[in-house]
Amino acid sequence: MSTILITVLIITGIATLLAFLLTFADAYIADYGECKIIVNKDEELVVEGGSSLLSSLTEHDIYLPSACGGKGSCGYCKCKINEGAGPVLPTELSYLTEEDVENNIRLTCQVKVKEDMYIEIPEDLLHAKKYTAVVETAKDLTPNIRFLKLKITDGQEIEFLAGQYVQLLAPPYPGNPDEVYRAYSIASSTTETNSIDLIIGYVPDGIVTTYVHKHLSEGDEVSFNGPFGDFYLNDSDKDAVLVAVSTGMAPIRSILYEMLHKEIDRNTVFYFGARTREDLFMLDEMEMFEESLPRFKFVPVLSRATEEDQWEGEEGRVTDLIEKYLEEGENKEAYLCGGAPMIKSTIEALVEKGFKEEMIYFDEF
């Protein structure tokens, strides 16, 4: 009996001693005290040292894009750290290009804050916040495109530039084990600060699009962060050419509302491409814009109009319209939103018309 007791006591004693030592070490050795993070040379954050830079920034409401939630498996949360990060870790290497390493770009979820840090974050990321909202409206615009109106419920107001995007969070659902963020352009007016509109296409097996199309219904709570992006309407009086296909309508719609509300009078034409008549949407709104904006013209074009469509409008692709209607493009601005091949061919067509490349702004998805 006493042997058992002694054995238990000795083992427990050793384990207790070691546990005590470890706790002691954790409290005193791994305590980095307060560290300062200096963002873009002017903003100073005071954080408790020892945790990752990403989570320290999140605590101070600075949201860097992160799809994996800090597990070091998406490589989105990059940021420039000029001082205080230590050498590059093996866990970061697979997500950093040689150029990144040269420019002190690091993965913020892997870098621990242990001393004062000097970091650089693009201005537009600093204004990004996290919002909670409920789905006020969810309706199908076409068989493949869904419209969402998200009403912000946490008392915040969103300020953005017409054309910017937010990142919508898809929580885990059957078939998707992780939280995933995807970027969608805001389709509503900048004057609407307590809700945003999104136009989201369905991508087979797409994690967030499946969530939006199959799982989300009116009244559900969602969260998103933003605004992000450098695609927005410039303040100028030059002629503007807007070109979009399918869900690329979203940022253009926001830009049109901006022109409407700010009474911007510019010579504007909007070329919108779709496959069939079924894929066209928001035609009544475009009619409204044509009536309200003094010098605005909306031209839809169908690439695969069927017999039943009885389509009498333009046929072909948006690039065909550019070739057909646009005159000499010097001193004009162009705003494009669409997939990579559409952006590429449209830029080529515009440059051929004499557009300057630096006056062509685009948002690629």
Binding site: I6, T7, I10, I11, I14, A15, L18, L21, L22, A25, D26, I29, A30, Y32, G86, P87, L89, P90, T91, K114
Partner: protein, 196 residues
């Protein structure tokens, strides 16, 4: 084993009773981390440090706690707990005060917890009833020997990258064959001194 001089044990554990090449202990990290000389030097240093530290601590615990209470049969669990706790505390200290070393050791430090060479040294030490000084020498020597073997292997593997190794033998296969050849070569030392 009172008669063997600690320095003899030190030399013997590096060359004739090498942890990897004579006892085949710690093979897992030996095969996994021996791709580059730089990283294998890193893990070699870490193993040497932890081996020395844990052999001292385990010696004290064994001789001043376990033996007086006749609990020698508990040595496995006690040694393993000590090694795990030691590695964790060392990791915290190194991360805090020696950041450069911490970054060069990287993920290897926690990996050492499950390196069987570490437990092997502590067990050999008590089985062969070494004295305190002999145990320290044995710990340091075994670590250096392990480092010698892994660095040599890394050097060979860097050269072998350019060799036409048959597909089925690439990677771990050829590494094990080379380890065997190295072990054969090290047997040449075994006549000098024997501490087994």
């Amino acid at each position: 084993m009172e008669n063997i001089h600690p320095i003899t044990i030190l030399m013997a554990s590096i060359f004739t009773s090498n942890m990897i090449l004579a006892n085949f202990l710690g093979m897992c990290s030996f095969i996994a981390v021996s791709k580059e000389i730089k990283t294998s030097l890193g893990i070699g240093q870490a193993v040497t440090f932890v081996l020395t530290g844990t052999s001292v601590i385990n010696y004290l615990i064994y001789h001043y706690i376990l033996i007086p209470y006749q609990l020698e049969y508990l040595r496995f669990i006690v040694f393993i707990i000590t090694i795990a706790a030691f590695v964790q505390i060392v990791e915290m200290i190194v991360e805090r005060y020696l950041p450069t070393l911490y970054y060069s050791l990287g993920i290897f430090l926690p990996l050492i917890t499950v390196n069987c060479a570490i437990l092997g040294v502590s067990l050999f030490m008590v089985i062969r009833s070494y004295s305190f000084l002999q145990s320290i020498a044995f710990g340091i020597g075994s670590g250096l020997g392990w480092m010698l073997a892994i660095v040599a292997m890394a050097g060979i593997r860097q050269k072998i990258k350019n060799a036409p190794v048959p597909k089925g033998l690439q990677g771990a296969g050829i590494t094990l064959i080379i380890t065997g050849l190295m072990a054969l070569a090290f047997i040449g030392f075994s006549g000098i001194v024997n501490i087994q």
